[in-house]
């Protein structure tokens, strides 16, 4: 798949009429300043002037602007969409980045210096020096319980998160457990409640004490926030009803056989049976490669 992608992207850096990384220098500088502020106040949302880029709002513009403001000629970029390097959205974002910067791209998590992601954190553990950039549709976690921005801002300022706790209480009353499947509320550094973007619960523990810098960009909502490396990130949960990740008993990836990963459920229409595959395609490919089997897309 990697070769096919390279062929598809082809002519590197041939868009000379554009500034390096598409955004003009002052825009990039503004985003970097906001990013610095976001890193300084973990989990706190910083407004920024979300620029127009040739992608529709809501398709990863926040993440892309962060990527473009940070990327340099030496960087190696990986873009995934729900764990997959080859989906249309990921391919398009990667192509824009390579055409306007000429930087190298990769599908291997361990080779990347910058990872832009939608809805997943790679299974391969991130390392020191890597930066992972999340595309965020709704940055405000308190929107679950309060529609007014003025009020949610005050709630953050005062650390008044009892409404969210009440929401969880009500959830347990109704269903016997917390049913939030994605966008699970997390407390960052014991201070700010944060929307981790729509990653599954499976990925939430990876936010805690991560060696990589994690940046979150919401282009439509014009917000940047961050979790610096080695920061405490805890999912909200009751003492007697602890946080749990997804688990499908007995399910294994039908390609590589992995069980301790986040799996996608693929129904087979003809046989009516359900097949499971790794959501992280690179992780799956690496496992197959290690066994000496050929890649299948």
């Amino acid at each position: 798949m990697a070769e096919r992608l390279q062929a598809l992207l082809g002519q590197k850096g041939n868009c000379r009429h554009y500034t390096f990384a598409y955004l003009d220098e002052s825009a990039k500088r503004e985003i970097r300043r906001r990013t610095l502020k976001a890193v300084a106040i973990p989990g706190h949302q910083i407004p920024f002037a979300s620029r127009e880029i040739p992608i529709a709002r809501g398709w990863g513009t926040g993440g892309l602007q962060l990527t473009m403001s940070l990327i340099g000629p030496e960087d190696v970029l990986k873009v995934i969409d729900q764990g997959c390097d080859g989906s249309v959205n990921a391919v398009n974002l990667r192509r824009l980045a390579t055409l306007t910067t000429g930087c190298r791209t990769t599908t291997r998590t361990s080779d990347a210096t910058l990872i832009q992601t939608r809805h997943r954190i790679p299974e391969t553990p991130l390392t020191r020096g890597q930066i992972i950039i999340f595309q965020v549709p709704y940055p405000e976690i308190l929107r679950f319980v309060e529609p007014r921005e003025t009020v949610t801002r005050r709630m953050h300022a005062e650390g008044a998160y009892h409404r969210m706790w009440t929401f969880l209480y009500e959830n347990v009353v109704q269903w016997g457990r917390i049913t939030i499947g994605f966008r699970y509320p997390v407390m960052v550094h014991g201070r700010y409640l944060m929307d981790p973007s729509p990653i599954p619960r499976w990925d939430i523990p990876k936010l805690d004490q991560s060696p990589a810098l994690m940046l979150f960009g919401a282009g439509r909502e014009k917000r940047i926030y961050a979790v610096p490396p080695f920061t405490k990130v805890e999912p909200l949960a009751f003492k007697d009803i602890p946080f749990e990740v997804e688990h499908q008993a007995g399910a294994r990836c039908s390609r590589c056989g992995a069980a301790d990963v986040f799996l996608d459920e693929i129904p087979d229409e003809e046989s009516g049976r359900i097949r499971w595959v790794c959501s992280d395609t690179d992780y799956c490919d690496q496992r197959l490669a290690a066994r000496g089997e050929s890649h299948r897309a």
Partner: protein
């Protein structure tokens, strides 16, 4: 009930003005002038230089007509909005040495959630009607952000609802589905949840029919006797004031026109306005 202890709540020269203000506001408004809108600048003087003490275990009433400023005082003391000028000291906050209004909004929020409880006239102000009765009460128990224990919260919520004579089996029903009297009981349970030292009641029974009113008032009075919580009761209804309070302030046009023991005020009113008020009771 009155004792020589230091007051639980000490309020000094509390004033609240809305809109513009000028130097003649105080002079041109008040009961003598018959208005609380300043003719010079058009600003509203909601309350002016109100001072009082509230002692531990005491129930203080504020009575007055609509627009006399009594609810404004309550909102200020619940730290919902800042007063224009004035100070308030709570013996539970830094031994009563710090003016509550000067604290940071975080501290205010903390005091509001641990030392104060409020019951509003209309349930939609005090309750989230889209949440169950239990969740509304639990909200007050969930304010500290350290990992709470679900079962413990559940148990305490049930016991609180029990205390306000709510059928505990209705704990998980939406509070919007309850009758007015029930909603006031839920509000009361919610207000009492963190075992506050001070309970603020803003016309707690005004929207209810008389029989329900009587049972809710009985409940409030018995809870007060059992827990010894101090209360500040705002009402336009002298019946409520007579039943609940030990001492009373009478307000008109933002000013306190008379103050004293409740019995004294009801039996022997001095100010013409109080006389009118007592005489007009049906």
């Amino acid at each position: 009930m009155l004792n020589s202890q230091s007051p639980l709540l000490h309020v000094r020269s509390l004033s609240k003005q809305y809109g513009p203000s000028c130097s003649s506001c105080a002079r041109l408004t008040g009961p003598e002038q018959g208005t609380n809108i300043c003719p010079e600048c058009g600003g509203v003087v909601a309350c002016w230089e109100v001072s009082f003490n509230l002692f531990p275990g005491e129930v203080l009433g504020i009575v007055g007509e609509s627009g006399s400023g009594k609810s404004t005082i309550l909102r200020c003391l619940n730290l919902d909005e800042p007063p224009t000028t004035g100070e308030a000291f709570h013996s539970g906050v830094e031994k009563g040495k710090t003016n509550l209004f000067t604290l940071s909004s975080q501290r205010k929020r903390l005091i509001q959630s641990s030392l104060l409880g409020i019951v509003y006239q209309s349930p939609h102000l005090g309750l989230n009607l889209d949440f169950s009765a239990g969740a509304n009460v639990a909200e007050r128990l969930l304010i500290q952000n350290n990992t709470p224990e679900y079962r413990r919260i559940r148990k305490r919520t049930s016991s609180l609802l029990n205390k306000v004579q709510m059928p505990v089996k209705r704990i998980d029903e939406l509070s919007g589905a309850f009758s007015g009297g029930m909603q006031q009981r839920v509000q009361l349970a919610k207000a009492l949840a963190p075992r506050p030292m001070l309970l603020l009641l803003d016309e707690p029974t005004s929207g209810l029919d008389v029989s329900v009113q009587a049972s809710v008032l009985d409940l409030i009075a018995s809870l007060q006797r059992k827990t010894g919580v101090s209360m500040l009761v705002v009402s336009h209804d002298l019946g409520v004031i007579r039943l609940l309070t030990h001492r009373t302030l009478v307000m008109k046009m933002g000013r306190v026109v008379e103050r004293g023991l409740t019995d004294q005020i009801l039996e022997d009113p001095q100010h013409p306005y109080t006389q009118e008020l007592v005489a007009s009771v049906l």
